[in-house]
């Protein structure tokens, strides 16, 4: 039941407990309690929307920063990750396998703003040994949703 609730909410967080209960053949109160527990345990960490900002007048830039760092004795990567994540400018932080250590996604108003943040805040951190900044040019798909060319083909309205 947990997994089913989570899959439904992951796809559409606007579904009410009543809807979910109907869809899963469960009691509404039961679903409500389960969601409350999931929120309390921080399994569900928040509810957000997928927005294609390119279709608005607001201009944003998104950048993916590769960070190479030196892990700290006794703390590995966690402490440095924590410090990076604390910046409100930082949207996402992942520890990666492969050629670099952290992938950091930053959203800013301009490329200059983002570059400045990287050079003034991230690069000078003691553990950071190198950065590479990649700006996003176009978003095709986010959170499983296609942002471009996603018009649905029409079905005939009535078919036997």
């Amino acid at each position: 039941m947990r997994t089913n609730i989570l899959s439904l909410l992951e796809e559409n967080c606007k579904l009410s407990a009543k809807d979910i209960a109907a869809m899963l053949g469960a009691e509404e109160a039961e679903v409500e309690a389960e969601i409350a527990a999931l929120e309390k345990d921080r399994v569900i960490c928040g509810y957000t929307s997928i927005i294609d900002w390119d279709k608005t007048e607001n201009e944003f830039v998104t950048a993916l920063i590769e960070l190479k760092v030196t892990p700290q004795r006794g703390e590995g990567f966690d402490k440095i990750a924590e410090r990076i994540a604390n910046y409100p400018e930082v949207d996402t932080v992942y520890l990666m396998s492969g050629a670099y250590d952290f992938a950091v996604i930053i959203k800013g108003k301009t490329m200059k703003e983002v570059s400045l943040f990287v050079s003034s805040k991230l690069a000078p951190m003691e553990a950071v040994v190198g950065t590479a900044t990649h700006f996003v040019l176009k978003k095709y798909k986010e959170h499983g949703v296609k942002l471009t060319n996603n018009t649905k083909a029409e079905r005939l309205a009535i078919m036997p």
């Binding site: 109907a22 899963l24 083909a153 079905r155 005939l156 009535i158 036997p160």
Partner: protein, 386 residues
């Protein structure tokens, strides 16, 4: 000038759905719950395979019966999933949708005046196909109180000396009814007793919500007298690819393939290659779609309870078949008013046989959001007429 037309053909009634379709298609803001096809796109890996084979230039005819590779996959699939085993070389023909399979099976089997038993409400093409094959259709009006299952008593009562074939359309369009193993065992007994054949239309087999679908061909003694019709439209959301298949005892399959050869040549090559990919790697896709349909089905049953609309719980396909007799309108009147007042299109039960009077077919091949919007309009409608 002489009348250019065949009497037989002109006497066949056009599908009752047509009239409705014309009205709906001129209403751009109407919400339709009248579609008989999945709302999912064909899984991308299947489409990709189709594109890839086009790029490789696989654009020639296949053998009449279809790609052997595909027939082998189909026969493996039927054994694996439904425990009915047919020979890929002599007992399988790839058709243009399940519909062609129905047509050629009846044409291969019927002599003038042979009777074919058709349980109704059912898909619209069985009756005209029987007539076109010079058979005589004998309809059985199925009962809501039996959850629209076919009972051995009903079958027994419809059998005469001329009966040759019984059509078994389960999981059912339009009612969503299924036949479980014990239901089928009773039917099989009657079939064997009277030496009849079964045309089992299992196009919705993968969309079963109460245990796995049981094919009558898997019951003892039934394989040799069952023609299974199935296809890729519903299970893999591949309606537009027009690809189905029939599994039949060699004696029958040979004659079906003959008609197919002369009328069709072979099913679309591109679709056949895509279908091989679907069978090899599509189990997961089927399960994802089946679960989504099942959630919507439960959601609608709850909505019906909230609206106090009577409806037996269907366990197959993607249709619900609510009872609207208490509103004192015919199905057609109800559907017309609902369309006119709330711009929601549903199909009157009568489009699937006279015994569909008093019922509506509502498809849930729509997203939950679409269903919610449609049902808030239906609620408003019920409040105004109630």
């Amino acid at each position: 000038m002489r009348n250019p037309l065949s009497e037989k053909v002109t006497n066949i009634k056009p599908s009752g759905i047509r009239k409705f379709f014309d009205v709906v298609s001129e209403m751009p803001d109407a919400i339709s719950l009248g579609v008989g096809e999945p709302d999912f796109d064909t899984p991308w890996h299947v489409r990709d395979e189709g594109i890839y084979t086009l790029e490789k230039g696989k654009t020639f005819y296949t053998s009449n019966a279809g790609l052997l590779e595909l027939r082998e996959e189909i026969c493996k699939y039927y054994t694996r999933k439904f425990h009915a085993t047919y020979d890929p070389i002599k007992e399988c023909v790839i058709t243009v949708g399940g519909s062609e399979g129905i047509d050629i099976a009846l044409r291969a089997m019927l002599n003038d005046g042979d009777e074919v038993i058709i349980p109704e409400p059912c898909y619209v093409s069985y009756l005209p196909c029987v007539q076109l094959a010079n058979g005589t259709p004998v309809q059985i009006p199925l009962q809501a109180k039996n959850e629209f299952r076919l009972t051995p008593e009903e079958l027994e009562a419809a059998i005469t000396e001329k009966t040759k074939v019984v059509i078994l359309p389960f999981p059912n369009n339009p009612t969503g009814a299924i036949m479980e193993r014990e239901d089928l065992e009773k039917i099989a007994k009657v079939i064997l007793e009277h030496d009849l054949y079964v045309l089992s239309d299992e196009i919705y087999a993968e969309l079963s919500y109460k245990g796995k679908h049981v094919s009558i061909a898997s019951l003892p003694g039934m394989r040799d007298r069952t023609i299974v019709i199935n296809g890729f439209s519903k299970a893999y959301a591949m309606t537009g690819w027009r690809l189905g298949y029939a599994l039949a005892p060699a004696l029958i399959c040979e004659q079906m393939t003959k008609i197919h050869q002369f009328a069709i040549m072979c099913a679309p090559t591109n679709s056949q290659y895509a279908a091989v990919e679907a069978l090899r790697h599509g189990d997961k896709d089927i399960e994802v779609m089946r679960q989504a349909y099942d959630q919507r089905r439960r959601f609608l049953m709850q909505t019906f309870r909230d609206l106090d609309l009577e409806c037996f719980e269907p366990f197959g396909a993607f249709y619900v078949f609510p009872n609207i007799q208490k509103f004192g309108m015919s199905s057609e009147e109800f559907a017309e008013k609902l369309l006119e007042q709330e711009k929601v299109a549903v199909v009157p039960g009568t489009a699937f046989g006279d015994c569909g009077e008093g019922f509506l077919r509502i498809s849930y091949a729509y997203s939950i959001d679409e269903l919610k919007e449609a049902f808030s309009r239906i609620k408003h409608f019920l409040d105004t007429i109630g």
